[in-house]
Every structure is written in structure tokens, then in C-alpha cells.
């Protein structure tokens, strides 16, 4: 026995020097060891019953910025009463305030406390003294003390001062914080060990280049570590849990033959609504349904003149689509109104009119979208949509169901699927996909449909187009085991760090 590692030896000896009992703070200061290193050593010493570690909760009282000012100048009620005493116990209120130089916003506070402390009260514009106050109340005593020391431990205060602390806390002049204080004390066994002499171990602890190169390691003994002892935490760099999940979805979509598309966040109403055959008085286009850009209000549609004309006619009378149209006067100006994209389908429209469109083609996007919603457990005002289209001459509703089933199985890892009729202004037929997963039951997983002829024909697309959107946030919540959608944009670093693979 009598052999300890350098940190352990140092800790024990310093503790002895400090009178056999000291707190961690004193020990780190005296020994120069970091808190982590010291605690590791202390735990080993405790294992060997050489020291005892005691934990105590303490409440630390600290002074706030406002408290500091009063510690110097005196509490506002004290400032007033001092002036009043000088002015012979009764004086016009305004005069007292002016003479005391008290800021206006502090006057009600000062008057309130004068009354509560029973020192003075305002009456018909006069301030009247009620009793001569004691020279220094316990609250003022404590505040002065804090003004000098900045913090004290509440448990060390007498009962009167404790009461004063509560009072000052309510006035927001001080703050209280709980803290754990650890104290180390040498045991009899520890003292005996020091008496017998503590030797530094001859075993090698840290293997160094010098030991390796010189060959000293051949003769030395490499000491066994307590491999079960706790170590410092390391936080890896990693992807945001939600983005990692999105990356996985992207990978799967690419594997299914989908190409990523991209489009702007600030969008022309035309792409978000008009081209999708949503009439210009559709409720989704009101201020409760979409964010409008403040200024400039309108964008430039001149690049799309031809398409806009066809869309205009389709809205008004159906154009050549075989539809009746909506039968109203279409406004091109309204179509150029700038908004924040309300759904990813706007992007599909851009893809369909792009000269790079391939037929057959499969496209997807993970699009940031915006809607004027109040944020809560189930709603975000800014959110992501996973959307896509399939363009091909021969596709039918059966293909749409096939695509949906594939998603449910590949992406949601569902056991079975169910289809329900759905409604979107721009698709017909429209299908809602529900997926069943053991342990979760049936969940609504996405909406989809075949674009209406009133959508595709004016865009110059003569083949059917399947459009789908997946409820990706809901899927993420399910996978991550959370029930609050706000985690998508969480500000909680600790949660992100701790969240493992989902």
C-alpha cells in the first residue's frame, strides 16, 4: 500500500495541509488541479476509504444590476424619507421627489414601500411622515453587504437576514441560485497513510514517446486503470437529427429514380396558386392563408407571358382544356403578387414549365414553406414539405397508388396501406395515403393526385402528371419519439447533442 497516483497523492497531501477538511474550490486553488481531475482523484481516494466526500446544497445569493445601484445610493424609499426628514416631516410630494432626484418610474415604487414600511404616506399632494424609521433596516443591511461581497450563502445568514433576502428577491434586487458544494475530509485511514508516508507509484501511468523510444517500458510496470471510472463527456459533431432524417428520405427518393428540384422561397402568386387552378378569390389566398411580401408587392411575370395568358383563359372560361373554368375576370396583376411559398407544389409548376423537363421524369423537393399559423405543438409557421411529381405518357391512378405504396413501405417502413379519396384544388382524382405500422396504428402519411387538365394543359404538358406530398414532419416525430413538432427547429442544444440515431 502507500502507493497513489500523482493526482491522488497531491490531493491527499493538500487536503492534509488545509487542516484535513476542505471544499473542492479550496482544493483546486491550492493544488492547481482542474476540478475534473481533482474529482477523479477524490473518487479513487474515497474508494480506498482514505477520504470522505460530502455533498451539501447551498443557495447563493447574488446582487442584480438594479440592486447594485441601490446598494450605493440607498433604496428609493430611503432616498425619499431622508429628504422628508430634512424638510421637517411634511412637504409637497413634488418637492420631495425633485430634491431627492428620483427618476419618475421609481416614484410609485418608492411611495409603495414608504407605505408598506409605515414610514410615510402621500396625502393631498403632500408627503407626511408617520414614524421615524430605524437607521438601517435588515434589507438595507443585507443589500449593503452584497454591494461589497456581491454574493453570500443564504444558509450562513441569521433568520432576520434570511427574511430580508426573500424581500429583496421579490423586489428583483437579488437572485438566488442552488448549488452543490462538495467537501472532502481525510479519514483515520488516510491520516495513517500519510504518517507512514505516501509514495509516488513506480508504476507508469501515462505512456509517453520517451518511454517507448528509450525502451524503458520493457522494465517498467504499466499500471492498471480503473476502467470503470467515469470520464469527461465528449460531444461529437453530427447532423441535426431532423436533417439527418431528411437526408435519409432524399437518399431513398434518389434510389427510386427521383431527381431533386429547386425553387425560390419568395414566390409569385402565379406559381403558388394561379397555375394550380386556384381561383383568385380562393380563401387560401387571403391574409390568413398566406404571407404577403410587404414591398415591393409585385414581381415580374413578363418572362411567362404565354403561359400566363393560357392560365388566365383557363380560369375565365376553361380555354382548350375541356373545363368550364371559374367564370370570373382574371387579374394578371394579382398573379404577380409576391408571397412566401405556401406549399412545395409551386416548385413542381416551375419544373413542369422548365425547358429541362424530361418525359418520362420523376422529380422531388424538400421545400421550406410558410403559412400564417400560430406556432404550437402541432403547427409551425415555417415548415418543410417533401413533394414530387411523376410525368409520363402512360401513367394512371394505378401508378399513383403504386408510388404511394412504395413510399409507405420504403420510407415509412409501413406494414400495409390504405387509400381514401382526398381533395386538392389542383388534383383530380386525389388520394390520401394512410400507412399502418405495428405499434403506431394507422397514420395519415400523405396527400396526392393526378394534376387536373386545367393545370397541365396551360403549362404545355400533354401527358398525365402525378403529384404527391409526404407528411414528413409527422414521420420524423414518430421516428424520433416526440410529440411536439417544434423540435424540428429546436433551440435546445442539449437535446440535439444527446439525441442518438433515429
Amino acid at each position: 500500500m502507500g502507493e497513489l497516483r500523482p493526482h491522488e497523492r497531491k490531493t491527499l497531501l493538500v487536503l492534509k495541509e488545509l487542516g484535513g477538511k476542505a471544499n473542492v474550490n479550496q482544493l483546486t486553488t491550492k493544488s492547481g488541479l482542474s476540478e475534473a481531475a481533482l474529482m477523479r482523484a477524490a473518487l479513487v481516494l474515497q474508494d480506498q476509504k482514505l477520504v470522505e466526500i460530502r455533498e451539501r446544497k447551498q443557495t447563493i445569493l447574488t446582487i442584480t444590476q438594479e440592486g447594485k445601484i441601490y446598494a450605493k445610493k440607498g433604496l428609493p424609499e430611503r432616498q425619499l424619507i431622508n429628504v422628508l426628514l430634512e424638510l421637517k416631516s411634511e412637504a409637497p410630494l413634488k418637492k420631495v421627489i425633485k430634491k431627492a432626484g428620483l427618476r419618475e418610474n421609481l416614484v410609485p415604487i418608492a411611495l409603495g414601500w414608504l407605505r408598506r414600511k409605515g414610514w410615510a404616506k402621500p396625502e393631498k399632494g403632500y408627503l407626511k411622515i408617520l414614524k421615524t424609521p430605524e437607521k438601517e433596516g435588515s434589507d438595507e443591511k443585507l443589500l449593503k453587504l452584497l454591494g461589497k461581497k456581491l454574493s453570500v450563502i443564504i444558509e450562513n445568514l441569521d433568520p432576520e437576514m434570511k427574511k430580508a433576502a426573500e424581500l429583496l428577491k421579490r423586489r428583483k434586487l437579488v437572485e438566488m441560485n442552488r448549488k452543490t458544494v462538495r467537501t472532502l475530509e481525510i479519514t483515520r485511514k488516510g491520516l495513517n497513510l500519510i504518517k507512514r508516508g505516501v509514495h509516488a507509484a513506480t508504476e507508469i501511468s501515462q505512456l509517453t514517446p520517451e518511454i517507448i523510444v528509450s525502451g524503458k517500458w520493457r522494465k517498467a510496470k504499466l499500471r492498471k486503470y480503473n476502467i470503470k471510472a467515469p470520464v469527461a463527456k465528449t460531444w461529437p459533431g453530427k447532423k441535426h437529427p431532423y436533417l439527418r432524417f431528411i437526408d435519409e428520405v432524399k437518399r431513398k427518393l434518389v434510389a427510386l429514380g427521383f431527381k431533386e428540384m429547386y425553387g425560390p422561397l419568395v414566390e409569385l402568386s402565379f406559381f403558388n396558386f394561379d397555375a394550380l387552378f386556384m381561383p383568385q378569390d380562393h380563401p387560401a389566398r387571403e391574409i390568413f392563408g398566406i404571407y404577403f411580401v410587404k414591398s415591393p408587392k409585385h414581381g415580374n411575370l413578363s418572362r411567362y407571358k404565354k403561359v400566363v395568358t393560357k392560365v388566365k383563359e383557363t380560369h375565365e372560361n376553361g380555354w382548350k382544356t375541356g373545363s368550364k373554368g371559374w367564370g370570373y375576370k382574371y387579374s394578371v396583376r394579382e398573379a404577380s403578387r409576391l408571397i412566401l411559398r405556401g406549399h412545395g407544389t409551386a416548385l413542381s409548376v416551375r419544373t413542369l414549365i422548365s425547358k429541362d423537363l424530361e418525359i418520362p421524369g420523376k422529380y422531388f423537393s424538400i421545400a421550406r414553406c410558410y403559412r400564417p399559423e400560430v406556432v404550437d405543438k402541432t403547427h409551425l409557421t415555417e415548415f418543410n414539405q417533401v413533394e414530387g411529381i411523376v410525368v409520363d405518357e402512360n401513367i394512371t391512378l394505378r401508378d399513383l397508388l403504386g408510388v404511394l405504396e412504395k413510399f409507405a413501405i420504403e420510407i415509412a417502413e409501413a406494414d400495409k396501406v390504405k387509400f381514401r379519396p382526398d381533395y386538392f384544388p389542383f388534383t383530380e382524382p386525389s388520394v390520401e395515403l394512410s400507412a399502418y405500422k405495428e405499434g403506431y396504428g394507422w397514420i395519415e402519411f400523405g396527400g396526392s393526385g393526378i394534376f387536373r387538365p386545367e393545370v397541365t394543359l396551360p403549362l404545355g404538358i400533354k401527358v398525365p402528371v402525378i403529384a404527391w406530398g409526404l407528411g414528413i414532419d409527422r414521420l420524423f416525430m414518430m421516428r424520433a419519439g416526440i410529440d411536439d413538432i417544434r423540435y424540428v427547429f429546436t433551440q435546445d442544444l442539449d437535446w440535439i447533442r444527446r439525441k442518438g440515431r433515429i
Partner: protein, 567 residues
């Protein structure tokens, strides 16, 4: 999406079939009308149903739901006919001056009604739902119902000055002028904005100058009250679009007919322009549409025969006539205003066939999957940052000016602002990324240090030349914070980052109010400005309540993408 309340027992009575009180089963039935059970209050017997279709006002009431579902449940098939029982001889004279205010009106008289409290509550719900949704909060249309026995025809739909006419509005005993109604009556306050800008307000009077209503605000308390004693009802719809007005009237009339009422027509006398014109309402017209069976099969991927399609359409409550071997003439009931194109009929065929009877098909199309080259670059950049032990974060692009500018010690610049923000903290799109990261740090002061975080995200700035008047750029920002975080540490990260992207960056001295003077630099590649690096100024740390030094950089990934394409 319209949400409606229906009384369960009433619903069962109208369907004329006993349903199992199993919400899952009910959901399966409601699927035929794109409906879903949202809630069931068993104590009061109220079922709350969400109807997804915003283009089918005929489904937003219990009568319409039952009418359509009886078809899908196989209880009744084909078109349900609604015919006018006769002429009520009621005439409505329309004042020319309404042209710019609220030009159209349509009326019907329904006789021999036996109204229960349940039916009356149902009618009120239907009226309310149509006013709000199809009537665009009464701007486009609004509905009024009256006790016909108290009315002396002919009626006059005319205008009046705001202070000229008074009457007791629904729910009030005392008379008020129209101006007072707009100021005091709850409905006046709610809908007043529709008429307030005019000098004259619309008013509906009978021949004895009794006020029926002040459209679209409120009915009279005397004439506009329907009770279980009421046998004959006058329905009136006013609005700005004739077709919508006529459709709305039909929806109400059909519901009352389903309740046993007999509809009688009225004559509306218009004199807009130079010509006089009479319109008889309700205008109940069954329209027709050709349906090509090949088209049906082409869309659905099925091999249905003409006969099968006809049967399915009957289930969906249409009538059909065979025109040729592969074409049908479909008769569309007047309440199906959603049928705009044959594709709408095709969907009804598919619903009647049941989606779950259609075999899904997965075809391998010859397409190549790919992410964009930008995403590829971004993924690589993220990988490098993660390799350097940075935690990726994700924040909102919506923010506020205070975070973007004053808390970063910058003067406000032109940015993209929202005209209708929902909350004062989210009023604009971010123009740079660093403030989002500062906010994140400020929310994580209790979390273990050192903290190393980064985000790759979009920022938006105004750009007059662009079609959307904005320019969007991808940026990457990274910050390090701990007790001794500083310039050298972040610079070594930036060096490694650029090197991994095969870029040679130079740092040039610059002045930036968010950073400490002399510890901030522009990041340049081949004379192109791609970002900024430095130690955050204590003034900014104070503004975000941060107590530890922060070193940061922000680079423009869109520019880096363009550079990487050049090289």
C-alpha cells in the same frame, strides 16, 4: 376545409339506415364524401365532420351528406330530381343603384314545412357555413330566411341612406338605423366593412315598406325569425356574382325540400343597363356532360365497360344515357357545382369503384435519380464541419429586424418584410445567418461548453432585377464559444474548410460593427468577396446576454458553388 356539426340521430333518420356507433366504420363511410369524423359528443349526440372538398357546398349540411351517401351505400341510385312545385307569384323589383353595391338577388318560397328544433338548427348551420365559406364571409353571397306568412309581396330590393331607415334587427327589440346597426349590432360590427364604403346601403322591403333585411348584415327581428310554428318560408340570397347567388339559393332550397318542403318560384325584375330582364328563381337546371369511357380507363388504369361506368356513376347519384359503345351522356344534378371537367366525373367513378379495389402498380420508368449539384456541395460542406466537431443546427428563416440589425450593432438595411406577420418576432426573412446562431447560443447558456455549432441555410435579400424581386443565397455560418474562444481557433477551422473544398482563401482587413476592430476580416477567393470572419464584439455579446467570447465566420455557399463550377 369546412368542418360541420350534424345531429347523429337526425343523420341516421335522413339516411334511413341504422348505423353502428363505431367511429372507425363511420369514417370508412364518410370517405366516399372526402369526410372524416373529427369528434363525437355522445351526450349531445353531435357529430363533428370535416369535409375536405372546398368546392362542394352541397355536402356542408346533414341533408346533402345523407343525399350523397345513400347512393354510395346502395340505398338509392341515380339522380335525385328537384322540381319547382309552382309559381309563388312573388315579384322582386331590383333597384338600378345596386349595380355597384350588391347587384344580385334570388328568392324562393318553400311551403308546407314541418320544422323541428333540430331542422331549424341544421338550417342555421347550413346558412352560416355557406355564408362563411362559399359566400366568402358574406362578401360574395349571404342568405336570409323569413316567415313568408308575414310578408306582403311584391318585394323591393333597393337602397337607402344609412340614417334613413330603421328597423329592429334580429335579436333586438328596439329599432335602429342602418348606421346604428353597423355600430352596435354584433353582426354589424362583424360584416360592416362589406358596405361601409358606400353612401347607400342595400335594403330588402315588402310592399308595406316593412324591412325584411339589411343585406348582407342582418335580418329583421319581426319577419326574419323562423320557429317550429313557421310553415312557409321565404329564402333570399343576395350577392355580387349571379351564378354563385343562384347556386347558393339552390343549396338551401334542396335541403328544405329534403325536409318535406315544396318549392315555389319567384320572379326577379332587373333593369341594369338599358334592357329590362326578368329572372325566375330558383333556377334548377340539370346539366349534361359527355364522358368518354376510354378516357375513364386511361386515367384510372382500369378496363371498365360502358355499363360498369354507368352503374358507378349512378351510385355517385348521376344519371346516364348511352350515346355510343364507348361514350355516355352524364346528367349532373344542379347541386354538383364542382363538376367542371370530365375528370371530375372520372374521380367519382373511381370513388364509387373504391380506391382500395384498385391494384397499385409500380412501373420502373427509365429515369435517373439525383440530388442537385448544389445539394451535393452542401452535403460535402456539412460533412467537413461535422468532422471538425461542429454540431449542425436548424433555425427558422423568419426573424425580426431587431435580431438582424440592432442586436448585431448594424444599421437597418432593406430586407424582405412580411405584410401580414402573425407575431411581432417573425416579421421578415433573414438577410444573413449569424444572428440565427447568436440567438441559438443565447438560448443555450446553461449547456456545457465549449459549444461549436454551424448551420447551412438560405438567406434572402432584395434584388430589383429578379422576377421575384429577391435574391436567395445559401450560406454557411459557424461559431465557437467557450472561455478562451478566439480568432486563431476559428481561422484554423475556416482554413481547413476552404482547403477541403480545394479553395485558397485570403483574409483581408476590414471593419464590421458586429466584430471587434482588428479581429475581423473579409474572406476573399480570387478577389471575390465570399464572407466574413472574426471575434464577435462584446457589445453584441451583451445584447444577446452571452458571457463567453464567440468567434465566428459566415461564407456564401452559392458563390462557392459558382467558383467550384469554374475550376
Amino acid at each position: 376545409m369546412p368542418t360541420i356539426e350534424i345531429e347523429y340521430e337526425d343523420f341516421e333518420r335522413l339516411l334511413d339506415v341504422k348505423l353502428e356507433k363505431d367511429m372507425e366504420k363511420l369514417d370508412e363511410i364518410l370517405a366516399f364524401v372526402k369526410g372524416e369524423v373529427k369528434a363525437f359528443n355522445e351526450k349531445e349526440g353531435i357529430l363533428t365532420v370535416e369535409i375536405k372538398d372546398t368546392n362542394r357546398p352541397d355536402l356542408w349540411n346533414v341533408e346533402g351528406l345523407a343525399r350523397t351517401l345513400r347512393g354510395f351505400l346502395g340505398l338509392e341510385k341515380g339522380l335525385k330530381k328537384y322540381n319547382v312545385a309552382g309559381n309563388s307569384n312573388v315579384e322582386v323589383q331590383v333597384d338600378k343603384r345596386l349595380w355597384k353595391i350588391r347587384p344580385y338577388i334570388a328568392c324562393a318560397v318553400i311551403r308546407d314545412l314541418k320544422l323541428s328544433d333540430t331542422i331549424i338548427r341544421g338550417i342555421m348551420r347550413l346558412q352560416d357555413k355557406l355564408d362563411q365559406t362559399y359566400g366568402r364571409n358574406r362578401r360574395r353571397t349571404s342568405i336570409g330566411l323569413y316567415n313568408f306568412n308575414l310578408i306582403a309581396p311584391p318585394l323591393h330590393y333597393t337602397v337607402t341612406k344609412p340614417t334613413e331607415t330603421n328597423f329592429a334587427p334580429l335579436g333586438f327589440e328596439q329599432e335602429m338605423t342602418l348606421k346604428e346597426i353597423l355600430e352596435k349590432h354584433p353582426k354589424g360590427l362583424e360584416y360592416g366593412s362589406i358596405v361601409r364604403r358606400f353612401d347607400m346601403y342595400p335594403i330588402l322591403l315588402d310592399s308595406k315598406k316593412n324591412v325584411l333585411s339589411f343585406p348582407p348584415i342582418i335580418n329583421s327581428n319581426d319577419l326574419g325569425k323562423i320557429t317550429t310554428e313557421t310553415r312557409n318560408v321565404l329564402v333570399e340570397v343576395t350577392g355580387t356574382v349571379l351564378e354563385t347567388v343562384l347556386n347558393t339559393l339552390n343549396m338551401v332550397v334542396f335541403s328544405l325540400v329534403d325536409r318535406g318542403g315544396k318549392p315555389y318560384s319567384t320572379t326577379i325584375k332587373y333593369a341594369y343597363g338599358t334592357k329590362k330582364e326578368n329572372i325566375v328563381t330558383p333556377a334548377i337546371k340539370t346539366s349534361t356532360m359527355h364522358l368518354d369511357i376510354k378516357y375513364v380507363n386511361q386515367v384510372l388504369g382500369l378496363k371498365l365497360t360502358t355499363k360498369q361506368v354507368a352503374e358507378l356513376l349512378k351510385k355517385a347519384r348521376f344519371d346516364t344515357e348511352k350515346r355510343s359503345n364507348d361514350s355516355l351522356l352524364v346528367c349532373i344534378p344542379p347541386y354538383r357545382i364542382d363538376i367542371m371537367h370530365p375528370i371530375d366525373l372520372v374521380e367519382d367513378v373511381a370513388i364509387a369503384y373504391d380506391y382500395n379495389n384498385i391494384q397499385p402498380l409500380w412501373r420502373r420508368l427509365p429515369t435517373t435519380g439525383a440530388i442537385t449539384p448544389q445539394t451535393e456541395l452542401h452535403d460535402f460542406a456539412r460533412e467537413i464541419m461535422i468532422g471538425m466537431e461542429f454540431q449542425e443546427i436548424l433555425t427558422c428563416t423568419l426573424t425580426n429586424k431587431q435580431s438582424l440589425f440592432s442586436k448585431m450593432n448594424l444599421k437597418p438595411e432593406k430586407i424582405v418584410e412580411i405584410a401580414n406577420p402573425k407575431v411581432q418576432t417573425l416579421t421578415c426573412l433573414r438577410s444573413w445567418l449569424l444572428p440565427s446562431l447568436m440567438e441559438f447560443l443565447s438560448n443555450n447558456q446553461h449547456v456545457e461548453y465549449p459549444q461549436k455549432i454551424f448551420e447551412l441555410g438560405i438567406v434572402v435579400v432584395p434584388d430589383k432585377r429578379a422576377e421575384t424581386r429577391t435574391c436567395e443565397e445559401q450560406k454557411l455560418a459557424a461559431v465557437i464559444t467557450h472561455a478562451i474562444a478566439g480568432f486563431t481557433e476559428i481561422k484554423s477551422v475556416l482554413d481547413a474548410f476552404l482547403a477541403a473544398l480545394n479553395l485558397k482563401g485570403q483574409i483581408e482587413e476590414t471593419v464590421h460593427p458586429s466584430f471587434i476592430d482588428g479581429r475581423v476580416g473579409k474572406i476573399k477567393i480570387d478577389k471575390m468577396d465570399i464572407g466574413v470572419i472574426g471575434e464577435i464584439h462584446p457589445k453584441i455579446l451583451e445584447a444577446w446576454n452571452l458571457e463567453k467570447p464567440v468567434a465566428a465566420f459566415e461564407v456564401n455557399m452559392s458563390k462557392i458553388f459558382r467558383l467550384s463550377k469554374l475550376s
